[in-house]
Amino acid sequence: MVDSKQQWKAWIYLAPAIVLLLIFTVWPIINTLVMAFTEDYSSLSALGGKEFTYGIKNFQKVIEYKGFINCLKNTLLLCVLTVPISTILALVIAVCLNSIKFLQRFLQTIFFLPYVTNSIAIGMVFAAMFNIVGNTAADVQVVETVGIINNALGLFGIEPINWINAGSTYAANIAVMTVYIVWNALPFKILILLGGLQSVNKQYYDAAKIDSTPRIRVFTKITVPLLSPMLAYVVITGFIGGFKEYSSIVGIFGDKMGPAGDYGRLNTMVGYIYDSIKNHQGRASAAALILFGIIFIVTMINLSVSKKKTHY
């Protein structure tokens, strides 16, 4: 089939995309590589006429930085927590949505709402919901309000938890971030999975019904395997997105990336890149390449696992 006519024709079809990609994607990537290997590169200093040497110092600087391990840990932890939780929850919600008739469209629209809303506004709302107002880290404590979430937990007899304020624990911070990120990730996943479910032939379910299959088994043995391509897609994009986590943390904790008293505690890889990009473009580029490497490896692992696990 590969005749020369098709060859040049294909390239003509691809030409607009390739030209634009070369200019606006490939060239920046090359520039990034150059900056990453230009030691201590800073575009403003470069403008000021500073001369740079080439080498791997930027990478050393990134890796040696004590906050870097912290960024890496936060990024990994959030990925490992939020991707499975959001995927499973989205799956459950999609299956539930798919098995009701009354109000289905209405609920579907509601679950899509977070997708069309400005994340900054929602971050502010979440922060307010978890916020404890009071000097929580002092011996002499005066607490004004424990926040809506703690009020709700109080109904079940749970003592107020210091989620995001001064003196809060790392675990509590991560819990809040997990809730928020999951909340943010749900609509897209529900949309994809529900779309997948609706394209599954209904006869499989009828067949299972005829065979007296319990609901749980229908879910695990039929629904999940049939959805496995969508699930793989959702998980892989989830991981890629997870490694680029940044704005959701800004949403809750502000650009200091941590609770009062311990700024930077929740900083992530992209957070580090943003911190550096203002005046340390060399380091930022090196960090971006490291991040790309990690994402690449994880995606490869994901792909090979999903090749084994997804069906047909």
Partner: protein, 480 residues
């Protein structure tokens, strides 16, 4: 998998090729220019009346833009060919980020709102115009009506600037003038005058007095936090200034000096205060300390240290009959040494960017000169913004004097705040500005906050504080 691996190899090959090309290009294009040297305008340069367009980035809200427009019109009566295009670019950080990107392609504005550390950043690229030769220039400029003015400042004009504000423009370690102050604010102590009067409390002038006072207030209202402090960073820097201990210097390679005994001691002292429930900060408390101060129910504070420009937020909401639940008093913040007061100076200055067109630079200077030295503008801008004018003579401006005269702790609280600021004009200080000075500021704020929060759980409190200082210095070194 194989597919993507091939792809990556492909990219790498392309990239390596380009890399070689790019590096060659870079090394060739290196100019023989000192790194980070400032731009100095030509001697004897003057505005020749040609048509120029000046862009000006700021953060002014709509009401301030109205004021600005009014004075741009007046400026244009003198210089009709200088067209001023100004735009609001979000907050101070947005202005900085936008300009530092624009500088890389030479697309920067002519004039911008700035903080000293922004200028230090721009200076890496050598893009900020030093103002000394303009200030001292005796060249003459012809106005539209044929009259002439001297391009530089007169002696009287320089003397009219409040010293500390004026000197802030020279804090860059090389003694050169880079910025001129536009409008300023500081920190003041807001207190609940009604409560103080009722309980016969006196306004604290020193930190020792404040400590005693806090204990006293807590006996009156056990469910309160006597003092709310807006900004840990300001607190730290001001304390270092008041105690004459080191904070930072503009000297290259020796910027971060704040890790010293005196500073560790006051950090420890304030951490203890926090633990005793004397004080909280906006970040630690989880809500605006002004909200705590004006609260009518629940937890309250009776003192609040915050920006003089935010006076209206420190006033409780008026009741239905238009009166206020309590009267607000404003005073200078407590001092280490009441006879040698020190209060921080903040608020925007103006800087001018280098440009290929010398006429644009000199025209920019004319506009900056106009804004900073025009008494009417300074007065009106101060009244609308809540910021303090930078000229001493504004106090004699009849409109502004009237404004100050009506000062009270209720409706005219902004005037009261301005009045207090004017009264303490000799107490202002500024900190050295260099690339990394904003990092130092962030770090000391975070450090004070960290210690206040961690104090409770730390087993060896001195070691904890010592480590926090060391970490903060290390972070500053890394980030600058």
């Amino acid at each position: 998998m194989k597919k993507i691996l091939t792809a990556v190899c492909l990219i790498l090959v392309i990239v390596l090729n380009c890399f070689a090309l790019a590096s060659c290009g870079d090394s060739n294009s290196t100019e023989t220019k000192d790194s980070g040297s400032a731009f100095v305008p030509d001697e004897g340069l003057t505005y020749d009346g040609s048509e120029v367009e000046i862009t000006f980035y700021h953060t002014m809200g709509a009401n301030l833009r109205t004021v600005l427009d009014k004075y741009v019109a007046k400026f244009n009566e003198m210089y009709p060919n200088i067209k001023i295009v100004h735009s609001q670019e979000g907050g101070y950080d947005d202005v900085r980020d936008k300009i530092s990107t624009e500088l890389t392609v030479g697309n920067q504005p002519n004039i911008a709102y700035c903080y000293p550390d922004h200028v230090a950043l721009y200076n890496l690229a050598g893009s900020v115009v030093t103002l000394d030769s303009f200030i001292n220039s005796k060249a003459e400029v012809t106005k539209a009506d044929g009259s002439k003015e001297v391009l530089g400042f007169t002696e009287a004009q320089i003397a009219d600037f409040i010293d500390a504000y004026y000197n802030e423009g020279k804090e860059f370690g090389d003694g050169k003038m880079y910025t001129l102050p536009l409008s300023k604010s500081t920190e003041v102590l807001y207190y609940n005058k009604t409560f103080f009067d009722a309980n016969n409390l006196s306004v604290p002038t020193t930190w020792d007095e404040l400590e005693t006072l806090c204990a006293q207030i807590l006996t009156i209202d056990p469910n309160c936090i006597p003092l709310g402090y807006d900004s840990e960073a300001n607190w730290f820097i001001t304390m270092a200034e008041q105690l004459k201990s080191d904070y930072t210097s503009a000297e290259a390679g020796n910027h971060f000096l704040f890790d010293n005994e005196t500073n560790r001691n006051f950090v420890k002292r304030f951490s203890e205060w926090h633990q005793k429930g004397y004080v909280t900060t906006q970040e630690i408390y989880g809500a605006y300390t002004s909200g705590l101060f004006v609260a009518q129910t629940g937890t309250k504070s009776y003192m609040s240290i915050g920006s003089s420009a935010g006076a209206t937020h420190q006033r409780p909401a008026a009741t239905d009959d238009g009166s206020y639940p309590f009267e607000v008093g404003i005073a200078t913040i407590p001092q280490a040494d009441a006879s040698n007061k020190k209060v921080i100076s903040q608020g925007p200055s103006l800087c001018i960017f280098n440009n290929a067109s010398q006429q644009e630079v000199v025209a920019s200077w004319l506009f900056v000169k106009y804004l900073t030295s025009c008494v009417e503008f300074q007065a009106e801008f101060g009244m609308v913004s809540g910021y303090v004018p930078v000229l001493e003579s504004v106090a004699q401006n009849p409109v502004y004097a009237e404004f100050i005269n009506t000062a009270n702790g209720g409706d005219n609280i902004a005037a009261l705040s301005a009045k207090v600021c004017l009264e303490q004009k000799d107490a202002y200080y500024t900190s050295p500005a260099f690339n990394g000075s904003s990092e130092a500021r962030d770090q000391v704020g975070a450090l004070l906050q960290f210690c206040m929060v961690e104090y409770k759980n730390a087993s060896d409190k001195d070691a904890m504080i010592k480590k926090a200082f060391e970490d903060a210095v290390a972070e500053c070194e890394y980030m600058s």
